[in-house]
């Protein structure tokens, strides 16, 4: 334990962890919407600043925490999205208070939980210890469970419950996998802490028992895959997105899935480092394709707009898993890019959808229409977001999909065909619904929305920029990470 505390000398790394934790404690006590919302934003901003510092001075890897090329990508991304989402949630929650969907008590709870979630995710990302990472991800899951149920409507509670049960089983499986990894490592590294430390594990992985690693990866894939939302483990995801507060949907899609994916990648590296172990690629590719195609079809019959975009998250997680499964510098690069773009775009979409649902007073697609007429900014924002998520240029996802498909087709044509098929099916569904929501005769109330458009358009601007011009430093950075991923 003291080693754990010892790794907390003052550093950006410590900041990334301590600030949310402290903020959570503080927000749990403070009353009042105005101050807490601002404080929430402030804390998120501070965390972001620390994360950016991490880019420049990397602390040495401790026994529990460390920062390397791989996870710093995730940290910066998630802190950034966390920040913008907190800005969005400030205006969103304000409206929820007005219409009385949330009471101040729950607001306090909400903010505290928000920061706790940040803490848990940053901990999971920076953890240098597979046990610690497991604990952190479990914590993140439980927090989100509580936030999903926060409206305490029947549906919300059912969604939370479903999430909770499936999540717990996933956690259990992941733990078993973790134990197996330890078992594999122990003969080589010896008992005790070192046998769970990433840096050590990677270094010595080649000597581990390959079969044990294989079994372990099966459990980890299923355990963390549940969090990533890969089919057929996805069941919790759509409802959790649909019934929770929209900022949480944004955080879930934009961050939590990535964190779980990060865990998977780590273990993939571990297996890759062992020559005798089975390649984890095929498994990831299979589940990726399965998720992609399944989600693509599921998109068609959705009546709830948030649930629909939740399924699109499953679809894109499938694509990302596919890309990393294919492997190789090009596909890995594409996977990283796609993950980043998806986080930004999807959260932007949820920002738009949140306000839309507020002004229309419903999440039913059938009850909204002609948004570009009644609410031009929101409407066109949504159009832009959907066009982006559907993989249209000149937006970032187009580039990543271009790389994934073309690099795959050159190597395994037979894999590229179902990939393209899934992409096309999903595209058709998204545009179909977009037609319904954004165009046609205006339906539903036309009261002007009091919304903060800044986060949405900030994200979309970034996505647009990435689609046209990726700054060389970022490219170099991603490429180095892609190399790490092998």
């Amino acid at each position: 334990m003291n080693a754990f505390l010892a790794s907390f000398e003052f550093s950006p790394l410590a900041g990334v962890l301590i600030i949310p934790a402290a903020a959570a404690a503080l927000l749990a006590l403070l009353p009042g919407y105005w101050i807490t919302a601002r404080l929430n934003v402030l804390a998120a901003l501070a965390t972001l600043v620390c994360a950016v510092f991490l880019l420049f001075d990397r602390p040495v890897a401790g026994g529990y925490l460390f920062v390397d090329d791989l996870n710093v990508v995730f940290i910066v991304l998630s802190t950034f999205v966390a920040f913008t989402t907190s800005v969005f949630s400030a205006s969103y929650i304000g409206h929820e208070l007005e219409i009385g969907r949330l009471t101040p008590r729950y607001l306090r709870f909400y903010h505290a939980m928000y920061q706790t979630l940040m803490f848990a995710m940053n901990l999971g990302l920076t953890a240098n210890n597979i046990g610690l990472m497991w604990v952190a991800i479990e914590l993140a899951t439980l927090t989100t469970v509580l936030m999903v149920g926060i409206y305490r409507t029947h549906e919300a509670l059912e969604a939370a419950w479903k999430y909770f049960i499936l999540g717990s089983v996933g956690i259990a499986l992941a733990l078993f996998g973790t134990i197996l990894v330890y078992m594999a490592a122990r003969p080589v590294i010896g008992e005790g802490n070192d046998a769970m430390v990433w840096t050590v594990l990677i270094a010595k992985a080649s000597a581990f028992s390959p079969q044990l690693l294989n079994v372990a990866f099966v459990f980890l894939m299923l355990g963390y895959g549940t969090k990533v939302g890969l089919a057929p483990l996805h069941a919790w995801l759509p409802d959790a997105h649909a019934e929770g507060p929209t900022p949480i949907s944004a955080v879930l899609s934009g961050l939590l899935l990535n964190v779980a994916l990060y865990a998977l990648l780590r273990f993939k590296l571990l297996l890759a480092a062992n020559p005798l172990a089975l390649a984890p690629g095929p498994l990831m590719v299979t589940m990726g394709l399965l998720s992609l195609i399944f989600a693509a079809f599921m998109l068609y019959r959705r009546r709830d707009i948030k649930r629909m975009f939740a399924y699109s998250s499953i679809e894109h997680m499938g694509i990302i898993a596919f890309a990393f499964g294919i492997g190789g510098p090009l596909a890995n690069f594409a996977g990283l890019l796609h993950m980043t773009m998806h986080s930004l775009t999807k959260s932007a979409i949820f920002f738009a959808v949140g306000h839309i649902a507020q002004v229309k007073g419903t999440q039913k697609i059938a009850d909204m229409g002609g948004l570009t007429e009644t609410h031009p900014v929101l409407g066109w924002g949504l159009v832009l977001g959907v066009v982006a998520i559907a993989g249209m240029p000149p937006l970032g996802i187009f580039m990543s999909e271009f790389l994934v498909v073309s690099s795959t087709f050159a190597r395994e044509p037979l894999l590229a065909v179902p990939l393209v098929f899934g992409l096309l099916v999903g595209f058709g569904a998204l545009i179909l619904r977009l037609n319904q929501v954004a165009f046609g005769e205006a339906r539903g109330p036309a009261t002007p929305a009091e919304a903060s458009y800044v986060p949405m358009f900030a994200h979309l601007a970034l996505v647009f920029m990435a689609g046209v011009y990726l700054p060389p430093p970022i490219v170099a950075w991603f490429q180095s990470v892609a190399k790490v991923l092998g």
């Binding site: 305490r152 509670l157 419950w161 479903k162 909770f164 078993f176 003969p187 046998a195 028992s209 044990l212």
Partner: protein, 220 residues
Amino acid sequence: MGNSSIDIAHMLAGGMVLVSFLLLYQDRMFALLNIFAIHAMVLSASVAWQAHVQGAPHLYVPAAIALVLKGIIIPVALHRVVVRLGIHRTIETVVGIGPTMLLGMGLVALSMVVMLKAAAEADPLAREDLAFALSVVLLGLLMMVTRRNAVSQIVGFMSLENGLILAATAARGMPLVVEISVAFSVLVAFIVIGVFLFRIRERFDSVDLQALDEFRGERR
């Protein structure tokens, strides 16, 4: 430590698998709860034995947790839940008991083969324990899947989690075992409370809300 230690550990772990089968076999609610209590006690015994064998005193904590929380408190609590909510005393099954048992056999065989092949070069004690633990986990899952009642599903989950604790303790010198077992206990507590709060009578899937409201004492 001679063979005896291994034998005892082996026996205890195998005992858990046996008890898991008993759990699968049960179709009466209270009997199920009692058997689960036994499951937990066997676990705590096995963990304690591991602590003794490995000479790792901190392992006594999980043993104690298992004994107190899962061996006594939770079964009693569930007893009261069953009584309070007037849940049927018999357990509806999706698949009949017999087929379930057969499935269980198959799972045990599977886990044996996988584990013994996989952990070929691990030390025999750990290998056996892992194999048993995996069987327990799978049987727990099987139980969750083939039983309709909420309570029996919870029991299934808890037995699964017992299997995890078993594995964790069997992994000699694994850090964070205590924390993990604590965390899991919290999880289980959550679930039980959830069942209690949401008045989940029969199914896992439907939560009963106005009950919740009067429980919270505020109307929306």
